[in-house]
Symmetry: C2
Subunit: 188 residues, 2 copies
DNA sequence: ACTTTTATTGAATTTAAATTCAATAAAATA
DNA sequence: TATTTTATTGAATTTAAATTCAATAAAAGT
């Protein structure tokens, strides 16, 4: 394996470790030294791989803006069925691919006030709300979703999902909720 | 006005200022100097009123564990009606008594990972979930709420509410959601 | 008016954590 | 094998923010 690949692999290891710690303890309570110890490597070496703590955060957010998790509705299946399936997917990741699940939770955390501005802006730009608004409007036209401001409904929907996923990540023993509960928020 | 009363009044002013800043910018991003400047007073004087930043946080959490916001169900009205009314109350505070609304959001924030341990424990101990579980079970017996693990349902319900309230506090322009949407999560 | 207590400030200190650095080891390359 | 580049460490430095402090003003009590 070439040196560049080695380095890339190490970077990934650091990113995954940081992701876990950020989700489990929060960004500010996770010290560079904590991440280093968990990898494990010396604190100083962390700066050979990432310029700064904020840079590390930013790289994670960039990862989060790609990969799975984006809402791409093809318009064929009924909106309610689509969202239910989407939630089923996320929740099953909680067990099978904690990484994906943690990334969801993480992105929600970074979107909140108090997080470093640049990372926050980037996370905010990858929000699921906008694509969901159309989907909700279609559902309303089809009569499967209730009347109401579609934008507010979309925001409430994802805010609920985020809240619930954080609850789940804070207590990994918690029983997985039925996606239908959440989609019921929108149903006519 | 006696000196002790004066001091108490000043403490309250600091607490309210801190509450606002904590909710709007987050705990770690709010510096003692920021609170002092907003009150306004010198940074040093803050320590005449509170021992430390954590002490200030703790006092706020203590306030949050008292006053309105606790779920006290008297068992007479139907559970779904009760919860809808409760949410209506919270949401109307958002406009009329931002202080109460902010306190709700704040308590939810403190319950999360990454907040100072003592404050977090105290906030966690004042959780609304436990009283809600009974209420949900009654609703299930009455047939107004769907079948399912009542504990998980209660946790999801409040996690949703918390998520939505944070969304509202992050964007004060956001339209208030219909409480019915959220209660629908539980309906049969 | 005089003394004691409390409020207030802004500057100095401390502290915790991020970041840099000099030195060394290991690996790649010539 | 000699040389250059990269990885690694642990200690030193920097930095930002909390906290303390010495000095002063204002108020309360005598």
């Amino acid at each position: 394996m070439t040196r560049k690949e080695q380095k890339e692999e190490r970077r990934q290891a650091i990113l995954m470790t940081a992701l876990t710690l950020f989700v489990e303890r929060g960004y500010y309570d996770t010290k560079i030294a904590d991440i280093a110890a968990a990898v494990p490597m010396s604190t100083g070496l962390m700066f050979h791989y990432f310029e700064s703590k904020e840079d590390l955060l930013l790289e994670l957010v960039k990862m989060g803006t790609q990969g799975p998790g984006s809402v791409v509705y093809d318009g064929n299946i009924p909106p309610d069925v689509y969202l239910t399936g989407f939630l089923n997917g996320i929740f099953s990741f909680a067990k099978e691919q904690p990484w994906v699940f943690y990334m969801f939770v993480f992105m929600g955390q970074v979107r909140r006030v108090g997080m470093p501005e640049e990372a926050r802006r980037l996370a905010l730009s990858a929000d699921a709300v906008t694509p969901t608004v159309k989907l909700i409007k279609k559902g309303q036209k089809d009569g499967v979703f209730r009347k109401g401001n579609a934008d507010t409904m979309a925001r409430c929907f994802w805010a609920s999902v985020q809240g619930i996923m954080e609850e789940m990540s804070a207590d990994r023993e918690m029983k997985t909720p039925d996606p239908e509960w959440i989609v019921s928020m929108l149903r006519a």
